[in-house]
């Protein structure tokens, strides 16, 4: 069956939606989304501690798409990079941050092994890995060594629920979910 972005959104967007965005994530749009998120936090009951963890995770997740996201490969008119879908919602007492973006199939292996590594580590092991990458690896503006994902895993204290949904022989829709 062909991948349908709308179906994926419908299946994942449920509960009390705090923020939803589908489109290109430019500098200005990110600033606007983060501003909207903070304004929307004012209208819901969210403990300060959770608010900060969620905000931090959203910054990392969205900026990961900013640095690595492709265009919307299902839309011939979309020539811009940095296309992503962002869902922030509350289900019962749990906050969920979900994002999805298109990636090249050849990046799956490396990304999956990093995600599996992060999910296999304890809190202390994540701390050590974070410090090791921070202090040793070469960085660019795109970040280094998956530090953003490690940061989200550390702050949320939960496992990353990811999926690689094949679109065609070249592309995959990569989804990332975390509960806070």
């Amino acid at each position: 069956m062909n991948f349908s972005l709308d179906n994926w959104i419908n299946n994942n967007k449920k509960g009390n939606v705090i923020l939803f965005y589908k489109g290109n994530l430019t500098n200005d749009i990110i600033t606007k989304l983060l501003d909207d998120l903070e304004n929307n936090f004012e209208n819901i009951d969210i403990p300060n501690k959770i608010r900060k963890k969620l905000y931090n995770s959203v910054v990392e997740g969205i900026q990961n798409i900013y640095h690595h996201g492709l265009n919307n490969i299902l839309d011939n008119n979309d020539q811009n990079e940095k296309f992503g879908v962002v869902i922030i919602q509350k289900n019962n007492d749990t906050f969920e941050f979900i994002h999805g973006n298109f990636i090249n199939n050849e990046t799956i292996t490396k990304l999956k092994s990093r995600l599996d590594q992060i999910n296999s580590l304890s809190k202390d092991e994540l701390k050590s890995l974070y410090k090791m990458i921070l202090n040793n690896e070469e960085f660019s503006n795109k970040g280094g060594g998956g530090l953003g994902m490690i940061d989200i895993a550390r702050k949320s204290g939960s496992k990353i629920d990811y999926e690689f949904i094949n679109v065609n022989k070249n592309f995959t829709f990569y989804t990332f979910k975390i509960k806070i």
């Binding site: 501003d35 300060n48 501690k49 931090n56 701390k127 921070l134 960085f139 503006n141 530090l147 953003g148």
Partner: protein, 126 residues
């Protein structure tokens, strides 16, 4: 040397570097997409300041949020300060975190363990 003063914006912190008083302040949010450009003048300033620092330098880092793109730049800033301390000058690093913000406290502890200059952890009210 001249004072370096940068006004904070939505995704970047307020920076005040004063060579006369030996005060270094970074406050607010540091969540830009591209942190290297933002921090370059700060790191360059500290490199220059380190050549002839005050006998005592006071550093105040009071961040509400910082992203991982900034984390390496903040480490670069702290490493410049470590070098000044190693040269025998006094450096006081005050790391502020909001009440209950264990993540920001832990971030300070992470940095402290890397640069090996003691931090003074200061809790502030929300």
């Amino acid at each position: 040397m001249e004072i370096l003063s940068i006004e904070g914006q939505a995704k970047t912190p307020t920076v005040n570097l004063n060579p006369e008083t030996g005060t270094i302040e970074i406050k607010g949010r540091s969540i830009p997409e591209n942190s290297i450009e933002f921090y370059k003048p700060v790191v360059d300033w500290l490199e220059e300041y380190g050549k002839n620092p005050k006998e005592k330098t006071t550093v105040n880092i009071q961040l509400e949020y910082f992203n991982t793109s900034s984390s390496k730049c903040i480490l670069d800033v702290l490493k410049k300060l470590e070098a000044i301390a190693k040269a025998g000058h006094d450096i006081i690093i005050n790391w502020f975190y909001e009440e209950d913000d264990e993540d920001m406290l832990e971030a300070g502890e992470d940095y402290q363990s890397i640069i090996k200059v003691p931090f003074k952890m200061i809790e502030t009210e929300d």
